[in-house]
């Protein structure tokens, strides 16, 4: 075991956990004041629920030895963390097994939390809790297995995904699209402005996400070495370039740059570099940042054109951003950096992996949401929605400045 690698992975795991409260603020600041607490709640319950599903069953389905070697799903060897000790590095990694498990847990938590941006202001908390519990087991865990545990996508197909372009972002983004479609739009969608109620919280959330993302990407090296350093640098570069690109494009096309834009651009860049962080160098990261900033900005309009209320743009930022990164990686991958060379063949592998991730996540999420809708129901009543979820669901108000 390597104490330096362990130190960095402990830090990285904490950083990735911190991203979920960061995401809660990022999203929470963007909704109207009446739904602010409900949005925070959606994220905090992900920390509560997915921790449990992960240790009980998710981890073994994702990282357990592949059943029959088919690469479809992990076996039950690690159920309830059976055999996942603190001393025997079964993955041959330089870190304790239980730490590797914890690091991966944080990814399993934030992925469903990302979906919450699509359901703002109208979903029942009970339905949400059931959704993410089941989703983390039947969508997240298999996807992680396919991509990262020698499964069909990472193994047989040979697609690469350094820190979660497929497993985290495309996965969450496709599920968000399903959620927006099944739930239907908020009352007033497309007519009322529904301005962000507290952009300083959104920018704080952006800062926390950016900070935490170093754990996400550079931690994915599972080592404290040059590979981690490279992932660190590419992460910073892509975020910076995409943030700048976004506001420049906004300035040119809409007349003024916005703080919501700089925040969205940074996150778009972070998303797009995620699959690539360990496979490309800083100059390629510039290209990925530019592409992410411009294309995700353009993708914002999709929800209006097609009329689905992806309230906080999970599709435009995470689905589209994840696809941009995964596809560009097929061309830009540098064999000297991550051992895989870009080119037409790798591009095809990447495109196929994107397709698999989008279809699987969308279809299963859609069906799951439909089942919940038919049984306990997905949406609050109209009156609850009008009063705001904070009062309706939680009997709380985000701000009480007059008491």
């Amino acid at each position: 075991m390597d104490s330096g690698a362990t130190a960095w992975l402990l830090t990285s795991s904490a950083l990735v956990l911190f991203m979920t409260p960061g995401l809660a603020l990022f999203y929470g600041g963007m909704v109207r004041a009446r739904n602010a607490l409900a949005m925070l709640m959606n994220n905090f319950v992900a920390m509560g629920i997915v921790t449990v599903t992960w240790i009980v069953i998710g981890y073994t389905l994702a990282f357990g030895p592949s059943v029959e070697g088919w690469g479809l799903i992990g076996g039950l060897d690690y159920i309830g963390l059976e055999k996942v000790g603190s001393g025997n590095p079964i993955h041959g990694a330089a870190v304790p097994d239980s730490l590797f498990m914890a690091f991966q847990m944080m990814f399993a938590i934030i992925t469903p939390a990302l979906i919450s941006g699509a359901i703002a202001g109208r979903m029942k908390l009970s339905a949400w809790m059931i959704f993410i519990a089941v989703w983390s087991v039947i969508v997240y865990a298999p996807m992680a297995h396919w991509v990262w545990a020698g499964g069909i996508v990472g193994g047989d197909l040979g697609a690469i995904d350094f820190a979660g372009g497929l497993v985290v972002h495309i996965n969450a983004g496709a599920a968000a699209l399903a959620a927006a479609l099944v739930l239907g739009p908020r009352l007033g969608f497309g007519r009322d402005l529904m301005r962000p109620h507290a952009l300083p919280l959104t920018l704080l959330g952006t800062g926390i996400l950016w900070f935490g993302w170093f754990g996400f990407n550079a931690g994915s090296a599972i080592a404290a070495d040059g590979a981690a350093a490279n992932a660190f640098v590419t992460t910073q570069v892509a975020a910076a370039v995409a943030a700048t690109t976004w506001i420049v494009v906004e300035w040119l096309t809409a007349g003024k740059p916005t703080t919501l834009g700089v925040a969205s651009g940074a996150v778009a860049g972070l998303v797009a570099i995620t699959p690539a962080a360990g496979f490309v160098g800083p100059l390629a990261a510039i290209l990925i940042g530019i592409a992410a900033g411009a294309i995700c900005y353009w993708a914002l309009r999709l929800k209006f054109r097609y009329g689905f209320d992806d309230s906080l743009d999970v599709v435009a930022v995470h689905l589209v951003g994840g696809i941009v990164g995964s596809i560009l990686l097929g061309i830009l991958a540098d064999a000297d950096i991550g051992g895989v060379a870009g080119g037409f063949e790798q591009l095809l592998r990447q495109a196929a992996s994107v397709l698999i991730a989008v279809v699987y996540s969308f279809v299963v999420s859609y069906l799951l949401l439909r089942i919940i809708q038919k049984t306990i129901g997905l949406r609050v009543t109209e009156e609850e929605e009008r009063r705001g979820l904070d009062l309706s669901l939680h009997d709380e108000q985000a701000y009480v400045l007059s008491d």
């Binding site: 497309g190 007519r191 009322d192 402005l193 301005r195 007349g255 969205s264 914002l300 209006f304």
Partner: protein
């Protein structure tokens, strides 16, 4: 006595306050409000979509004055708050039956 209520642009507040002070007003109360009017209805581009902005942030000034000062107050607000563009706001004049100063119990014009 009158209560003069003015809805003005927030960035005019400091100017209006200074002018009213200069005109002899000894007290007033302000609240931040959202105004809807002719100015509303402009379109704004926001995260890739255009919207009708219905409400605009305004400041509501409420001044209690005696009859004689009322016209000065009105014209002072009118002049300092005016920019000439839509959204400059409105002034309303309401008759007040009585005013009491809580600290002293004075009533009527003495309370001002």
């Amino acid at each position: 006595m009158k209560m003069i209520i003015a809805y003005i642009n927030p960035y005019k507040l400091e100017e209006v306050r200074d002018a009213l002070k200069g005109a002899g007003v000894t007290g007033l109360s302000i609240a931040t409000i959202q105004g809807f009017g002719r100015q509303g209805g402009h379109r704004e581009i926001y995260r890739g979509a255009e919207y009708d902005v219905e409400f605009v942030p305004k400041v509501r000034i409420e001044v209690l004055v005696d009859e004689t000062l009322a016209p000065t107050v009105i014209s002072t607000v009118e002049q300092t708050a005016r920019t000439g563009s839509v959204g400059d706001g409105k002034i309303a004049v309401i008759s007040v039956e009585d005013v009491i100063r809580i600290r002293t119990g004075e009533r009527g014009e003495d309370a001002l």
